[in-house]
Symmetry: C2
Subunit: 434 residues, 2 copies
């Protein structure tokens, strides 16, 4: 337990410092080799790597739409209903994010507008691993569908049998994904960014992944012929603000639900009650015993931090400094703190709003900025699937209204032709009026 | 003149290919050296480089607020009024972009919200060069001010006398810039991204610059301890769609106003009338003669392309494929084409809407995605100065409503602790109701 106000500001900074994300140079060069291979040999390289890493008998990358339908139909009723319920809530929340066009007449006859339009083609990446991630399919697939992105493809590594989980297939079909390709890792990212014979080149790539995927996304986003990406990635993290009114069992359960994600997950409790911290520590110990991912969670919890503050307000300042991906607030009047809260990716207010709700089913997106990126990056939303562009339409009167301003500024900046593009028009108007 | 429909699709692609932005390896390594120097030696390194490149007698990096006020007061009345008029229009348009919070009750008792909040500290970069760029100060400073970014600093290289243009100072003071630092190039970007003794470390950096600045922005944005950046950069470009009704003199003036930006500027006319193309070519020749930046513009115009199409609709398809930074539409009913127009950063409708209007004074932002990035990146706007985050507040009833969905999905994904964070709460509710 760390008592915040006994620390120097350097020690405070230390207490909130995330472990360095040191990427082995070998990962960078391996990824760059894979990107080169995919660029040069296309499908052949992707298939080769997929056989090597995922399924050595795989014949072809695309999952046919018959296979997709067949797989989707295998989902059991209970899971199907849960996927549908989550899909409906996520869709509702992302539809609500649609923005009307902005239209302003800044001066008489000078109409300025801001519109948004779907990014034409998007590629969604769903990692493989020990269990399928249908929730991530929904978090990426729903906003792409609501935005109206014309081309929506999905890459996910096949299992050893050369297929994917029915849950993934069902979620993908709900989101109207047009093509599913059986590949993962850096090779999948390279294929979507550069295109191959069968995999469509897309404009932007979304989704989580291991360090090879993350590095591949960084590398393709730096290429002019590559693809944009959703946001930089780091280990998942939660910060819980609690006070004396908090239920320590709930707080412990929330910290552990973060910790089970991975050994590098960060869980931080910032609490103005010493008793609640101690109760939480005991509750963590006892709840850990029954978890299926106990070994992962206990490694992560070794790095958990318990910070004692003097007040809830001080707790908020600690959180603002850390800039957590997830912020859970279990205090007496959680909503009252909202105006003071800065730099959090997603905020969960009150005792009945566990992070799992946002991870799966409430409607908010679970793709969030980690590693302090919440200071500048946004929670994934509809606007990440659209491009905003401006439009202006100026009438003759409008140009007369602002023409002088343009000419003076263009002259101040030494841009003669800019000035002439206006003066030639003003002259034409003058001549016409004679 | 290129006749579009006589080209194969490979030739069409070729005709719209931008020159490769080949960055000499020496730029990359030079920039990385500068960033290291600033990281290690702070102000000392920045001052050293500024003396070397900009003003060898410079004593200190910050411009005092007295100096700023003094400089600002030197602007002549005509220019002051023009800066004020542009400021007012830009402000109006960016205020209109403010978004209300999104609040949706996705299920009874499940409240999902999306809010936005200003990015706390921003750094604006204004390049030096032969003439001052007050318009760019406004384009970056106004949205930062409207968003309410708490810390707003500006870096710009000093002239040989160790000062800056009064126009820059006046625009900066209108935008409420708190600190101006006399430095430019990669060293200014490094200083804002990493912080020095006198230059504040900022969360996000905005603004145009030469290849050293651009490369420095890329490099700091890839560092976990660096800063986010506005968007990738490339040479400026315009595409004009015209038909037989277009005024060739206006079209020529618009192409030239792009061409005077730099020798690598791209100007493309896509026109369904052979006559208008020929008239425009002649008008370009004659207008070039009187331009002050004739030598720059004529180099750029050597790479200009004149593409003849069979219809306005075909012209729109060409533009969509190119994804221009600026798109000027001089056709009979320009607005009617808007729904079909994709992938343009900013669209100028009709004969009386020259690009210069948006560059300076109409209200729209002139920081726009170039080099085809308009496919995924947006025109700079208020939302680039805020972060969106989500909030959820779930009632007891709400959790009972979606609890089962969360538990089923968490189980499908093998995330036991996620499930327990809900079930432990549902159990508590059940016990309480007994």
């Amino acid at each position: 337990m760390i008592t915040w106000n006994t620390l120097t500001s350097a020690q405070q900074k230390d207490a909130l410092t995330r472990p360095v994300m040191a990427l082995a140079g070998s990962v960078k060069s391996k990824v760059s080799e894979i990107i080169n291979a995919v660029e040069q040999r296309g499908d052949e390289a992707v298939l080769e790597l997929t056989r090597q890493f995922d399924c050595n008998t795989l014949k072809t990358l695309p999952l046919s739409s018959r296979q997709l339908t067949e797989l989707a139909s295998q989902v059991n009723d209970v899971t199907r209903q849960a996927i549908e319920a989550a899909y409906a809530n996520i869709k509702r929340f992302h539809i609500a994010q649609q923005q009307p066009a902005v239209v302003v007449e800044t001066r008489p006859g000078v109409i300025c507008e801001q519109h948004s339009d779907a990014i034409e083609s998007v590629g969604l990446y769903i990692p493989g691993g020990s269990a399928p991630l249908p929730s991530t399919v929904l978090m990426l697939g729903v906003p792409a569908q609501v935005a109206g992105c014309k081309t929506r493809i999905l890459c996910t590594p096949p299992n050893v049998n050369g297929t994917i989980a029915p849950e993934i297939a069902y979620a993908a079909s709900l989101c109207g994904i047009q093509k599913v390709f059986l590949c993962g890792g850096a090779q999948a990212i390279a294929a979507m960014a550069l295109g191959t014979q069968t995999i469509t080149k897309v404009d932007k790539i979304y989704g989580p992944g291991n360090r090879f995927v993350t590095e591949a996304k960084q590398q393709v986003s730096q290429r002019n012929d590559g693809a944009a990406i959703d946001m930089p990635a780091g280990p998942s993290e939660v910060l819980v603000i609690a006070d004396a009114s908090a239920n320590a069992q709930f707080v412990a359960a929330d910290l552990l639900s973060q910790a089970e994600h991975g050994e590098d997950s960060q869980a931080i409790l910032v609490c103005s009650s010493k008793e609640v911290i101690e109760q939480t520590q005991r509750a963590v110990e006892s709840q850990l015993q029954v978890l299926s991912r106990q070994s992962t969670a206990s490694v992560a919890m070794k790095n958990a931090r318990y910070i004692l503050t003097q007040s809830v307000d001080e707790s908020v300042l600690v959180s603002n400094q850390y800039a957590p991906e997830h912020l859970i607030v279990q205090t007496e009047d959680a909503r009252a703190l909202l105006p003071a809260i800065k730099n959090a990716g997603s905020v969960f207010l009150g005792a009945w709003s566990p992070e799992s709700a946002g991870d799966y089913a409430s409607g908010t997106n679970h793709v969030l900025p980690t590693y302090g990126f919440a200071r500048t990056y946004s929670s994934l939303g509809l606007s990440d699937f659209v491009r905003r562009y401006t439009v202006q339409e100026i009438t003759q009167q409008g140009l007369q209204e602002i023409g002088q301003t343009i000419c003076v500024l263009a002259e101040a900046e030494g841009l003669d032709a800019h000035k002439r593009a206006v003066s030639i028009r003003l002259q034409a108007l003058e001549e016409a009026s004679k």
